[in-house]
């Protein structure tokens, strides 16, 4: 899967990924909140093949699922980070977004780099051709959550 990276830093909290004021059941409002704590108009700049790349501890703090839901609504189907909060990891899986953990990814990817991502095989090829590996998910979790949720949206 060829993707375009949208890069954020370390320690991005859920209150930045999806500020509380965007909490709603209205998908239009929810999607507007995506990354709004850092880049208020981020959702308008998201293209179909965009993914999020971040550093350590992506999504600490609140367990609100709105962050992962907003990604789902914006069509972001992959987040690569050096590590995730428990909540962000589980909420992504449950919203059909692949949370991929890759040590050192932040230093190797720049904004709008092109990446080839293979979540089920456990590998990513960076723009310069370097190949990185990660532990693929247990098949059971892939089948019951990620694939099912994708069908809901697309």
């Amino acid at each position: 899967m060829r993707r375009r990276a949208r890069v954020f830093g370390n320690d991005v909290t859920l209150d930045e990924i999806h500020p509380g004021k965007y909490f709603s059941l209205d998908p239009e409002k929810v999607v507007q909140g995506l990354m709004a704590g850092i880049e208020p108009n981020f959702h308008q700049t998201v293209k179909d093949d965009d993914i999020i790349v971040a550093g350590r501890y992506f999504g600490m703090g609140s367990g609100r699922e709105s962050g992962a839901w907003a990604m789902q609504l914006a069509g972001i189907d992959i987040v690569i980070a050096e590590s995730f909060s428990r909540y962000m990891f589980r909420n992504c899986v449950n919203r059909g977004v692949w949370p991929l953990e890759i040590e050192g990814i932040l230093d190797k990817v720049s904004e709008k780099d092109r990446l080839d991502v293979y979540p089920e095989r456990g590998s990513v090829i960076l723009e310069d051709g370097e190949k990185l590996y990660f532990e693929p998910f247990p098949q059971k979790i892939i089948k019951s959550n990620i694939c099912q949720r994708k069908d809901d949206v697309r």
Binding site: D11, T13, L14, D15, E16, P19, G20, K21, F23, S24, L25, D26, G37, R56, Y57, M60, G61, S62, G63, R64, E65, S66, A68, W69, S83, S85, R86, Y87, R90, N91, N94, R95, P138, I141
Partner: protein
Amino acid sequence: MTTKTVSERFLEGEEGEYVEKEVDRVMLHDGNAPLIFDDMEGEEIWDPSKVTSVVDHFCPPSTVERANFVKQLREFVDNKGITDHVEFEGICHQVMCEGRVLPGELVAGIDSHSTTYGALGAFGIGFGSSDTVEILKEGRTWFKVPETIQVEILKGEHGTDIALSILEKIRYDANYKTLEFDDKVGLNMDDRLNIANMAAETGCKAAFFPPDNTTKRYIEKFDNKSEIDIPLSEEERCLRKVGISVKEPLVAVPHKPYNVKPLSKVSGKTIDQVFIGSCASGRLSDLRDAVEVLENKEVHPDVRLLITPASKRIEQKALKEGLIQKLVNSGAVMLNPSCGPCPGIDKGLLAEGEKCITTQNRNYPGRMGEGEVYLANAKVCALSAIEGIIPEEVSR
């Protein structure tokens, strides 16, 4: 036979293993439950008698959309046969710890501060809304059995300071892990609840105080029939041991709860708002601390002091003790037990450039509207309200 950690006993698996496990109880609140309504349509709850529904985020609602959420939650609990639905009783975690959660139980909450139940010797674990849907349908979910970090509490006078010291030392290193406390100080239950609540900011899956006589005395206030049978740790297997010894009040400065400094290094900052409350605090001992500092003094004219008792039960005790009269006399504004300003919901958001010092658990960017949020204990907060600045020290 190998011995087991507390996490291994509660989750019935080995460290690192993925397990399926039944839960004993589920907590829903109006802040996150709206996200489950669609997915639960046409579905039955595995055991409605094990579910508590609390209205505390939009309590009372400040917009029509929120009023609709609360209305939909009432309809949801009626349709699904949930009888334990409360409004205006208090903040969900405090409500759960007033006669609902028992030691030894595995409790799933639709909120990241569900770690609070660990103060009672239960295993409180937070979940997002999709996970909660599965739990409501099946009464069980999957867990990865976490590793343990042991925290020895050696010295400290206030739960908030001990919690801040833990956050400073551990930062996010407890992500996916269990914090197991060894209370060498003999903390009261208010402080334990405060610490287990704020432990959530380390990213931990659960925060556990092994039950003892303090737990037993507390539980007996609500349920004198319950025998406490607790899965205690059988061995001290852990990744890391952390010793906590607090000698002076601490303050977390913007914008991370682990950005902790001694009070003396932060003093002098002008304060616009003081908030004593949230699920981290607002308990009787916090209100007593505030009265001790505020009695016969007045809140600074440029400061608004907002106080939220954590529950109606606490509010009534504080009324009986005369605490609320004294707080109001000093110029405090009493808010009803609810989440309110802490997550920037209502009743006390900050304007751009404003500063607030508070007993709550989070100071992330945008948490309370705009502005900057400082975290400190109730005495430091009360004194800031009088002086209009963060004080140099709090006399004993």
